[in-house]
């Protein structure tokens, strides 16, 4: 399959997935008891006020009709108005998405830059003290909830040792945020910690597995030094499964951002999602889910493309 037809096929698949996600989320939200009218108009609202609100928002029409209406608007880039913030959802998202992307991408990059060499190091020093210590730390990092880890980070590196601010940069644009890099350190570390724990494990086991492969023996038999074998052959072969995992990790990263943004009061998508969920702000919730699902699908797509670049067998359709 040529790369071109592969891309077209995968993008079409991705669109289908996103469409399916909107259906599921739409149905789920409308199946919830209470409805937005009660949430927005408050407990004192009369039945007629609620009926009027529902009529005004189109909420009294059959669900399929509402969905088609929603989809039509979506195609025109209109995600509707927020019930509570009185702003177009698209505007809310375009304001906040770049900041969340910045946080997640930074966390992912930092996480991988630490995890990959760590995993390789552990594999090389397997069952030595270093390996045991890192393994233990990994399990601790993996089993610590992000909000708890965040609190510890704030306590240690902001309160006890006044090295970094406890609050994330509050700027409105990405540039404003980037101009205060010291404020990003703790949120990024909190977001990257789980990733380091998970991916160093993947990298460790992938490297260990590859070190026992026949081709390593062949390279040794040809007189290649251990270090050369590791960097030239084992590293690349071990990276392929890790890259595949990366795609599936995108939603986890966004989930982590939800907590981290809340914790460090960072005005991104996570915080927006959080407030919308608490006030039954359907249009905002739907918009956020849509964006996150697009990001997830794009993430897996990127991982697939990256895999084709690393592993020629994937392109030939045999792996």
């Amino acid at each position: 399959m040529s790369t071109y037809s592969f891309l077209i096929r995968r993008v079409l698949q991705a669109l289908a997935v996103v469409l399916l996600v909107t259906v599921v989320v739409f149905c789920l939200l409308h199946a919830l008891p209470g409805g937005p009218a009660r949430g927005i108009l408050g407990p004192q609202a009369t039945a007629s006020q609620i009926t009027a609100f529902n009529h005004e928002q189109g909420l009294d029409r059959p669900l399929p009709v509402q969905y088609v209406y929603y989809l039509n608007q979506l195609i025109h880039g209109d995600l509707g108005m927020s019930y509570t913030l009185n702003e177009p959802v698209s505007q809310l998202i375009t304001e906040r998405l770049p900041k969340t992307l910045l946080l997640t991408v930074l966390s992912a990059v930092v996480g991988l830059l630490v995890a990959v060499p760590l995993g390789v190091w552990q594999a090389v020093r397997r069952n030595k003290p270093v390996d045991y210590v890192i393994t233990t730390l990994s399990f601790i990092a993996y089993s610590t909830p992000v909000y708890f880890l965040g609190l510890i980070l704030v306590l240690v590196f902001s309160q006890v040792l006044p090295w970094f601010p406890a609050q994330a940069p509050q700027g409105n644009s990405v540039w404003a945020v980037l101009s205060q890099p010291q404020g990003l350190v703790l949120p990024v570390v909190a977001g990257a910690a789980t990733m380091v724990a998970v991916f160093s494990r993947y990298m460790r086991s992938a490297t260990l597995e590859n070190l026992t492969e026949d081709y390593v023996r062949t390279a040794r038999a040809g007189g290649s030094r251990p270090r050369a074998i590791l960097t030239r052959h084992v590293f690349r072969n071990s990276l392929t499964p890790v890259v595949a995992m990366l795609g599936y990790y995108v939603p986890v990263l966004f989930g982590g951002a939800l907590v981290v943004e809340q914790l460090f009061n960072y005005p991104g998508m996570g915080l927006l999602f959080w407030t919308a969920a608490q006030s039954s702000d359907y249009p905002v919730l739907l918009g956020c889910v849509l964006v996150i699902s697009i990001a997830t699908v794009t993430g897996t797509l990127l991982a697939d493309v990256l895999q084709r670049v690393i592993d020629p067998r994937v392109k030939a359709g045999r792996s």
Partner: protein, 575 residues
């Protein structure tokens, strides 16, 4: 570019490899295991020493010890001197300097021996640059030259290929190119042709022989295949349980073995019967066909079956108009090279692959016209034995559970006690003690496991047994026992047997009729005694000529004949 031999080799009586009282101990969870003990042997430049023995005899361990490539839990004692350097106790830096330059190795499994993500030319160049200060461009050019030398067509393009883009034989040629890249004084080949088809095996052996003769390289050939030994070796060392029991010139060891173990080993080797030179086969063939026509309704019959995988340009025609039938009480051998479609044909017979066109009749019922439920009932009449007894038995079940599983599926009415009785009875039949029912497959030996597979296949008293390479993972002595059991049970139970194998000698002994497959077609079929003795097609003739027989004198003649035929074919093509 001839390597300069260090004088050390001459000082040592001209030996390039000298093993002196070599021992290897593996530390395992259950304690130390002595895999090799007191092995002493030598290889002179230009000489080939074959190290033979069955699995577990320690022959591969000796080879790895000579390369300093033993696993981490192994400890070597004694001396293993390669060109003046004792490998035992040498540090990694010293070993890296020797490996790939003075001594190099060809491995058994070409499918996994190469880095899947690196182009083959680059992998060869890496070996060159490990030992010579040459530029990347020069190393790449030399890699292309090496690919040409090992007989890879269009070496410039092939150098840029990834291993998965090459065939098994080509991959093995690449591994050989890596091994000879720096003109080693000693080449260690560990089962270099075991994973390859016979015709490819013959080519690879020719190549190794030519390269060794050209450069005066000494070869240590590790193999279990006595035909390969007869074809290639000057001297033979026979290993048994970690020690060498017999050493001598190849003719002495193979034709006049002195040790009991060697005698037993050689008598278990299935021998390909070959037509005497000058004997005409035409008459005998006609007779056989006339008198011995198989009788009875076929257990399974394939009529003009074609199988196509995929669509359009990428479609693979796995089978093209194949017809054959297996009748009760008879064994039909299905032979051919890998990719010829023999396994696909056996799966069609099992009803696991639906034919794209043509029909399959199982016990008189057309499979395409039977409903799922009826098809399931028909399948209860088939037993299956596959190649790998380790992979085809569930490691988490006891042997008893494995064997009883078909009963649970097809005869649900049975009580636990009845099932146990049937399992015990079938274990008796395959000559396994009843106690093994409580053990797990991993506690058994390879031959025992394959008998468990056989017991599972026979527990429903099938009318058809499909055996796909049932003995190719086993040692010859074990193979003999397993084949004997299948043969006896067939006589007793009268099932039809479809026997898929790449080993022509085994098929010749075991099957009454044979189908020779080639590229999805049934190239030739008939009685084994006729088809494999006096083949009608060139393909079958080539296939038979490529099988090395374990008699060095006969094999020398066969090789000369085969090469002459090949050369004649080539001049004809050119002329």
């Amino acid at each position: 570019m001839s390597a300069v031999r260090r004088p050390a080799a001459d000082a040592r009586g001209g030996h390039i490899l000298d093993l002196d009282d070599l021992g290897v101990v593996f530390t395992t969870e259950t304690g130390p295991v002595q895999a090799v003990r007191g092995v002493s042997l030598h290889v002179a430049p230009g000489e080939t020493l074959a190290l033979v023995g069955e699995s577990g005899s320690g022959k591969s361990t000796v080879a790895l010890a000579a390369m300093g490539l033993l696993a981490g839990n192994a400890r070597a004692t004694g001396r293993a001197v390669v060109d003046g350097t004792d490998i035992v106790g040498a540090d990694e830096e010293r070993l890296s300097g020797l490996r790939g330059s003075t001594v190099s190795m060809v491995f058994q499994e070409p499918a996994t021996a190469l880095d899947p993500l690196t182009r083959v030319g680059k992998q060869i160049a890496e070996v060159i640059r490990n030992h010579r200060r040459v530029s990347a461009a020069d190393a790449a050019a030399r890699a292309v030259e090496l690919l040409r030398r090992v007989g890879i067509p269009e070496p410039e393009q092939r150098a840029r290929a990834y291993p998965f883009q090459l065939s098994g034989g080509q991959r093995q040629r690449v591994v050989i190119a890596m091994a000879i890249a720096n003109e080693p004084a000693l080449l260690i080949a560990d089962e270099p042709t075991t994973a390859l088809d016979v015709t490819v095996q013959a080519e690879i052996l020719d190549l190794l022989r030519r390269l060794a003769a050209e450069t005066g390289t000494g070869v240590l050939l590790v193999t279990h295949n006595m035909g390969v030994v007869a074809d290639f070796a000057d001297r033979v060392a026979v290993m048994y349980q970690g020690a060498i029991v017999e050493t001598g010139p190849v003719e002495d060891v193979l034709l006049r073995p002195s040790h009991d173990y060697t005698k037993r080993l050689l008598s278990a080797v299935p021998r390909l019967s070959v037509a005497e030179a000058g004997e005409s086969g035409g008459a005998a063939q006609g007779d056989d066909r006339g008198t011995d026509a198989p009788a009875g309704e076929p257990a399974v019959e394939l009529t003009d079956v074609s199988v196509v995988f995929g669509r359009g340009k990428q479609a693979v025609h796995a089978l093209k108009g194949v017809s054959f039938a297996v009748r009760p009480g008879e064994t039909l051998g299905l032979v051919g090279e890998s990719g010829s479609g023999k396994s696909t044909a056996s799966r069609v017979a099992l009803g696991l692959i639906a034919p794209t066109s043509g029909s399959v009749t199982l016990f008189g019922a057309d499979l395409a016209r039977t409903r799922a439920r009826a098809r399931r009932a028909l399948r209860a009449g088939i037993g299956v034995v596959l190649q790998d007894p380790v992979a085809s038995l569930d490691a988490r079940m006891t042997v008893g559970e494995c064997v009883a599983e078909p009963l649970r599926i097809h005869r649900r009415g049975l009580s636990g006690r009845e099932r146990e009785a049937l399992v015990a009875a079938v274990l008796d039949r395959v000559r396994l003690p009843r106690e093994v029912a409580r053990r797990t497959p991993r506690e058994l030996s390879g031959g025992q496991r394959q008998r468990v597979s056989l017991a599972r296949a026979l527990v429903l008293e099938p009318r058809l047994l499909v055996a796909d390479e049932p003995t190719s993972a086993l040692d010859v002595s074990v193979q003999e026992a397993v084949l004997e059991v299948i043969g006896e049970l067939q006589e007793e139970l009268g099932f039809a047997c479809l026997f898929v194998s790449h080993d022509l000698a085994v098929v010749q002994q075991f099957a009454r009729r044979v189908v020779v497959m080639r590229a999805g077609r049934a190239e030739e079929q008939g009685l084994t005694s006729a088809t494999l003795l006096h083949p009608e097609t060139d393909y079958t003739r080539r296939l038979l000529a490529a099988v090395p027989v374990p008699d060095p004198v006969v094999q020398r003649g066969r090789r000369a004949e085969r090469l002459a035929t090949l050369a004649a074919g080539r001049t004809e093509e050119q002329g």
